[in-house]
Symmetry: C2
Amino acid sequence: MISEKMVALVKNSSVIRAMFEEGKRLSELYGAENVFDFSLGNPSVEPPEEIKKALTCVINEESPNLVHGYMNNSGYEDVREAVAEHINKEHGTDFHAQNIVMTVGAAGGLNVILKTLLNPGDEVIVFAPFFGEYRNYVSNFDGELVVVSPDTTSFQPNLLEFEQKITAKTKAVIVNTPNNPTGVVYSRQTVEELAAILHKKQRELKTSIYLISDEPYRELAYDGVEVPYLTKYYSNTIVGYSFSKSLSLPGERIGYLAIPGEIDDFENVVQAANVANRILGYVNAPSLIQRAVARCLDAKVSLEHYNRNRELLYHTLADYGYECVKPQGAFYLFVKALEEDDREFAERAKKYNLLIVPGSSFGCPGYCRIAYCVDYAMIERSLPKFKELAEEYK
Amino acid sequence: MISEKMVALVKNSSVIRAMFEEGKRLSELYGAENVFDFSLGNPSVEPPEEIKKALTCVINEESPNLVHGYMNNSGYEDVREAVAEHINKEHGTDFHAQNIVMTVGAAGGLNVILKTLLNPGDEVIVFAPFFGEYRNYVSNFDGELVVVSPDTTSFQPNLLEFEQKITAKTKAVIVNTPNNPTGVVYSRQTVEELAAILHKKQRELKTSIYLISDEPYRELAYDGVEVPYLTKYYSNTIVGYSFSKSLSLPGERIGYLAIPGEIDDFENVVQAANVANRILGYVNAPSLIQRAVARCLDAKVSLEHYNRNRELLYHTLADYGYECVKPQGAFYLFVKALEEDDREFAERAKKYNLLIVPGSSFGCPGYCRIAYCVDYAMIERSLPKFKELAEEYK
């Protein structure tokens, strides 16, 4: 009785989420300390202390009807102004409240902007490996996902193929840096080349191609690496941000779209995003947490924890013979599977209670994603298992 | 550059929301005390004290990673169990956690269940007058909205026409009682007749027709009137609930779907709803507020305030010559416009700084909606204006 689209979707229901549930099942069976769940990007680091303080202040000091009531569908004016000023301070942009739409996380933001832009059949380009949900988000609005194949030596985007895949039907390009699942950060050079291709193709095709920058991992960058702010390189850029990882609040569903005044058709895009936020059933980003994050825009989770995890896991797995590009951001390792079939490999890992996600879920077979946003001690306990798994293949 | 669908939507952007913004503009111009904004269902009654206590407890006593982290896309297991038990206690149902999907308000819930059920071209029946957003929600999934014309004597559903409009393509029927915009509560007799028609038509057509009960106003019922719980009258019923009005939390975006085990294709529907919640970009209902409402399921806003408003406004407007069915629930009066064109009438009202919403927005021209979820004192101040407006037409 359910819709045909949903029949297929239920069947292929997110491998990642299924693993999350599988992890809970195995924990009950073997004890939580003997299951090594690297499947989900659910931060293990607690939100910074500022969040608790901010929530407490908002609850005790602000009017309940303001805090829990409706506001403009794009969010509270003062919250949007605070977000705009924060971005300006960090990145030298010139945003105001009207450039910001508060959204139900980055997922909500992406759906809002895709609803705003896409006619059925419009093409949206993504670079493999990519967050698998992009496929569903684009399909929600009957767009066509166009996948650029991965460059598995560096996991920087394959720009030669990108240029070839841009057509008159290309409406948007989604990039995600620091990247899920590789942890790779697009270098300034990469961004400049990408922007040059887009500029050239816009001129050639006489179309507008919007670059959608999905940035839940912006604040998670290691070794002082620069994460270029894309609006400064390409004027048709729209940023989708989330506080899920930067403040460890993934369950709260809070993020924003930053829509620069320079983009083509700005007035309509901003107004349509406001309407889309409403009619997609979000109505508005959750209110209390909007007001709370506005009070701690300078706060960040401790990166040190993730960095320690990264160093331990990367170096030890390398010692065991696993191949992997060292990630500079996010909290994922994207490791080459030890056999051709990544799904088989992930199944084999499960025998050691190691839960990792096949790269096929990210449009990149032959690899697996290991989310290291977990306890350090769990990583330590898991290492002998990774070793045994590697030895199976020797 | 925006999508064709959105061009039209932006143009006809919600009259109600536009009024909300207009109200803010007029307030700046004439002073807030001289503007009488009856346009939006934004509760004026504060949330019950339990909400503040619950939020404070959750923030101080529960683990931050639990409170702000990801959970199953359908919501926390313990929250869903608590919600199920509460409904069982109130309505003698037999729900468990697996019957409950926590959603981003009722709007989120409706979109989730429509995404779950609708193939393009499937028909969804609504009874005029109806909440205008149903049109957008059904259109989100390329469904066809089929409108049953209003019975303006009682504003109970027109069941004769309803029966005629059910076809083999009818996938769902949305009802909303207590009703927005009329405040009418469907009587037990109405519900029994509606259920009988659905049963008969299901047998005749050999299809499943789901009854979606949109219940944000369930708790707002006056004079001890009974609001029948629809799952008990028709087994293919799915309930969409919201805490927006019952706890004055509309900005928080928190509600649930209750999906009884008796509905056709239960397993698939429940699983698809879980997936739909994820891929529509909600991911899950906001986490902190999920945990907070679970602690105060027995709490309710004070009905006394709304009841006082209802009595004052209903009786005074009747004295002035306005025609209106006395509402038994929600916080709206649906008043006959004093001229044929309800949009003209609402414009005329605006000259008195009275903001009311034309019935055309609800598929029922010739009427206007007055939301009385406002301060009593504002209603008192507005009455001379309603009188002057009525006198214009004498």
